[in-house]
């Protein structure tokens, strides 16, 4: 627009040029690049690798130090998840990717009258289990949530229509709905308030969100933000198909349980409960 091309061109000239353009587009394969999705792109680093199976082992033997919420804070900051802290009831619109809950809520059916007493009081860290057999994926009508070949149950926020089938399908409450715009916006400019991480997008009203195992960080060779943030090193992330991985070592060494494993969802978050 700034170059002023096309100025003074008459109708005939325009048609001639347009015809030439169409011809050259048909003759030169490169001309079609824009029309073929992905054709102009060379696939590079960061593509999910088939054959991997990402999983997490949560060491819940000692429980988190009282009041520690480092993993949750890191996740909120990394993914621009608002806490609604200044609301009268912050839980009303709460968005949870990773959170803490009581042992009973995390593992219903495992209650025992005379179980270890500290289990009663300790909080368990829970998140999306990236199930191997994910009901959320089965029910999503738009494939907005889908399973990557490396096992991550991914969300495509662009494609979510907010039907909330997945929330009904997930037996773990791992999904949150944006009942309203997560970040207040300036009415005049449409810009949101300062985001904690300007390099990561937000979501909008009517979209479901959940943990993505930090796929964007994995692509850059980083560990998930929660794993990196835990000073106690209670969260371990890795590839179960790699025999030398930290997750495999923990699974080999300890007896672990999974949340509601009897449902057949094959959760990929494992909990070390006892020695």
């Amino acid at each position: 627009m700034s170059t002023g091309e096309g100025k003074g061109m008459d109708r005939r000239g325009f048609l001639r040029l347009a015809g030439l353009g169409a011809l050259s587009a048909a003759a030169v394969p490169a001309g079609w690049d824009l029309l073929k999705p992905g054709a102009a792109l060379a696939a590079g680093a960061g593509a999910p690798v088939a054959g991997r199976r990402y999983a997490m082992v949560v060491d819940a033997r000692t429980g988190c130090p009282d009041g520690c919420r480092d993993c949750i804070g890191a996740c909120n900051t990394t993914h621009n998840i608002p806490t609604f802290a200044d609301e009268p009831d912050p839980r009303r619109h709460e968005l949870k990717w990773i959170w803490q809950t009581s042992f009973h809520s995390a593992f219903p059916g495992n209650e025992q009258e005379f179980a270890r007493e500290d289990l009663e009081s300790k909080q368990v860290t829970v998140l999306c289990n990236h199930c191997q057999n994910p009901p959320c994926v089965r029910v999503c009508p738009t494939k907005a949530t889908y399973q990557r070949p490396d096992g991550i149950v991914m969300m495509d926020f662009h494609r979510c229509i907010g039907c909330r089938f997945c929330m009904a399908g997930c037996p773990y409450g791992s999904r949150s709905f944006n009942w309203r715009d997560p970040w207040p916006r300036n009415a005049a400019t449409g810009e949101p308030a300062k985001l904690p991480n300007p390099e990561y997008p937000t979501r909008m009203r009517g979209v479901v969100e959940k943990c993505t195992f930090c796929s964007e960080r994995l692509d850059r060779g980083l560990q998930p933000a929660c794993v990196e943030a835990c000073k106690e090193k209670l969260l371990v992330f890795g590839d179960l198909h790699d025999a030398g991985s930290g997750v495999r070592a923990l699974l080999k060494e300890h007896y672990t349980i999974r949340r509601k494993a009897n449902l057949g969802t094959q959760p990929q978050v494992y909990y070390v409960i006892g020695a």
């Binding site: 590079g44 926020f157 985001l195």
Partner: protein, 129 residues
């Protein structure tokens, strides 16, 4: 024989004038030509991911391709025809070179009255800072 000929033709004339208003409103009441948008171009960067003409006509398709590739698992890196690699990212690649959303993207979008929904969730890190 038409009853109320005068009223009918007056009504018709008003109707035609109203329907044709998009054609005459600007020449009659307009304040002259609207200045074409002048998006600010990057000062230092010279190499865009595609030639200017292609970007101008098809940047939405490029961005759409990037989105599908990144989110739906095809990888994150774009290889420039002459070998330079860039991350496929609206906020972190396009808007790192370009002046900013306000000075670059918005100028044409406002002129053409298009409201791309990219900006529902993606922002210009510079304007955020």
């Amino acid at each position: 024989m038409i009853y109320d000929k005068g009223k009918i033709f007056l009504g018709l004339a008003i109707f035609v004038a109203l329907v044709a208003s998009p054609f005459w409103y600007n020449p009659v009441f307009g304040t002259g030509k609207t200045a074409p948008p002048e998006p600010k171009l990057p000062k230092t960067a010279t190499l865009c991911v595609l030639p200017k003409a292609q970007m101008r006509a098809g940047h939405m398709q490029v961005i759409y391709d990037w989105r599908e590739t990144v989110v739906r698992g095809g990888g994150r890196m774009y290889r420039h025809p002459d070998g330079v690699e860039r991350e496929m990212s609206l906020s972190n690649t396009c808007l790192k070179c370009h002046e900013g959303k306000k000075e670059f993207c918005n100028t044409c979008h406002t002129y053409l009255a298009v409201k791309p929904f990219c900006w529902d969730c993606h922002f210009d890190p510079k304007e955020q800072a």
